[in-house]
């Protein structure tokens, strides 16, 4: 055989990139996509204002798909805030959020499940239970179908 059949580099080619009918999402690059303000959240945590920290950390979610660093930072920050709540306070905290925030919280929770660390999964599961009670399965569907992942 004259052809070199040893190399399998062709298997690593991303054929979807060359597909001319590929579906491209129109990205609205929104402002305020940098992620929650770390300093603000830190301050509120140190003061012991957990509810305030929760609201602050749910602001400015980094929905823009290109900003991976911001997403990582935001996720770590959210998990930190969620872990600092006492189990008995979780329900009230979720109750103080509006519908859009509950959906956003669900997105962060599932994101947190992807990279478990220490006790994070247990804490996130408690939050998941309370958020589900408020948001219903619809909030989970939105986590699965959203084009703008946090």
């Amino acid at each position: 055989m004259s052809k070199n059949t040893v190399s399998d580099r062709f298997r690593k080619v991303d054929v979807d990139e060359y597909d001319e009918n590929k579906f491209v999402d129109e990205d609205d690059v929104g402002e305020n996509q940098g992620g929650p303000d770390e300093a603000e959240v830190d301050g509120l945590l140190r003061q012991g204002n957990l509810n305030g920290a929760l609201h602050a950390v749910l602001k400015n979610p980094p929905l823009n798909t290109k900003n991976h660093n911001a997403k990582e930072r935001a996720e770590l920050l959210v998990v930190r805030v969620l872990s600092s709540f006492k189990s008995s306070d979780i329900e009230k905290a979720v109750g103080s959020l509006d519908k859009a925030d509950v959906d956003l919280l669900m997105k962060y929770i599932y994101r947190g499940f992807e990279k478990p660390s220490d006790n994070s999964s247990a804490v996130l599961l408690q939050w998941h239970e309370k958020a589900l009670a408020v948001g219903g399965v619809g909030s989970i569907i939105r986590v699965l179908t959203t084009r703008k992942t946090v």
Binding site: K99, G136, V137, G138, S139, I141, R142, T145, T146, R147
Partner: protein, 391 residues
């Protein structure tokens, strides 16, 4: 409400004939079965077997008594009844992917076919050559068409697609009809003209089902986690409501302001739309009767505890349907005032629901006996004529 089970296979789609004595349905395979109601039983009278792959859509034209079917084998057939036998005619739809849904237009002179080939095929009969031709709507569809619905003016067509958008196109075929007058959706309507395109910015998923209202001015659609209504009478403004339930798969306008939607929760829901910004959930339409717990013997009780670690042995759902509802269809009344509608689901059952326009379980006196109740014996509700005023 009456439930009829057609076996254990999921029912992919169904269609009624004009006087609702016959129903055509497909049990998730390549055959269409036509059942006729004889007394209280449904008896199979015809079997339509031309397709080679799973049937994805059936529609029965009431006036001309023709059935159109489409399947994953990229074909569509129009069936006509001749001498008690249904004869198929192939339609050249020219698609290279599976067909997903099909709908006759209100005047039954054409039908629209959605497909996975990212295009809608509008087919009409050409008298000269005695065959069915098709015209394609391609732009700007980016993915599979999941559902179609015609506007009452026979020209506009709504399409829900897997590219997360709901669109309204013009399907005006110059050869067979006159130029349409202006509507609330627009004035110029050449073939393929896009009158409305709405993409959910939050990505609420595929648009599973679309439905025009009776007047054609409102368009409702359901997506994975929301239900929306576009109002042409109010500047094409879109009102959006996110749901807390599992995805809805089918939607139907049942009154000027009332909408019924059903899906993976196995239960129809009622929504009401009163104007832009006023889309609300009303209630679940399936009252799950508290199933009388049959007295289980002590032996049974402990056996359950031992084998399954549960106290009750019930895998049945509370709702009538035991699996997701895939399609809703009007049985009696028209979109302006639906009296009965039917639902089929993945559990192989077809349920006929009564829609109480008043929204209360009150028995009202009938003013006229002009309602068409078909052959279904149902207790209680008698519908009220519109003379009482709109509500």
């Amino acid at each position: 409400m009456s439930l009829c089970s057609f076996g254990v296979e999921p029912l992919s789609c169904h269609a009624w004939n004009k006087d609702r004595t016959q129903i055509a349905l497909s049990p998730n395979n390549n055959i269409v079965n036509i059942f006729e109601k004889k007394g209280k039983e449904w008896v199979k009278i015809h079997e339509l077997t031309e397709h080679t792959e799973r049937i994805t859509g059936i529609d029965w034209a009431p006036e001309s008594n023709r059935i159109v079917t489409c399947a994953s084998d990229r074909n569509a057939y129009v069936w006509s009844l001749k001498d008690e036998v249904w004869k198929p005619t192939l339609v050249l739809v020219r698609i290279n992917r599976a067909a997903t849904c099909v709908k006759w237009s209100p005047l039954e002179n054409k039908f629209a076919l959605g497909s996975g080939a990212r295009l809608i095929s509008v087919c009409y009969f050409e008298e000269e050559n005695d065959w069915w031709l098709s015209k394609h709507i391609k732009k700007p569809l980016r993915s599979t068409i999941l559902s179609l619905d015609w506007h009452p003016n026979n020209i506009l067509l709504a399409a829900g697609s897997a590219d997360f958008s709901c669109r309204v196109f013009s399907a005006y075929i110059k050869d067979i009809e006159d130029k349409p007058g202006p509507t609330a959706w627009g004035t110029k309507m050449p073939f393929g003209e896009l009158m409305l395109e709405h993409k959910d910015s939050d990505g609420c998923g595929w648009v599973h089902s679309v439905s025009f209202s009776a007047s054609g001015d409102q368009l409702a659609w359901v997506a994975h986690s929301s239900i929306s209504v576009a109002d042409a009478a109010k500047g094409k403004e879109v009102t959006h409501l996110t749901t807390d339930y599992l995805p809805l798969l089918s939607v139907l306008f049942v009154g000027p302001t009332e909408i019924v939607a059903a899906g993976h929760d196995c239960c129809p829901f009622q929504y009401t739309y009163k104007g832009p910004g006023a889309l609300e959930f009303v209630k679940k339409l399936d009252m799950p009767k508290q199933s009388s717990k049959t007295t289980t013997s002590a032996m049974q009780h402990f056996r359950n505890l031992d084998k399954k670690a549960t106290e009750e042995d019930s895998t049945k759902l509370d709702t009538l349907h035991q699996n997701s509802i895939t399609q809703l269809c009007i049985v009696s009344g028209d979109k302006a005032k639906v009296e009965k509608y039917s639902s089929v689901g993945l559990d192989g059952a077809m349920v006929i629901w009564e829609f109480k326009q008043w929204g209360r379980d009150v028995e009202l006196p009938a003013l006229d006996s002009g309602t068409d109740c078909g052959e279904f014996e149902d207790d209680s509700f008698l519908s009220v004529q519109g003379k009482l005023g709109s509500f």
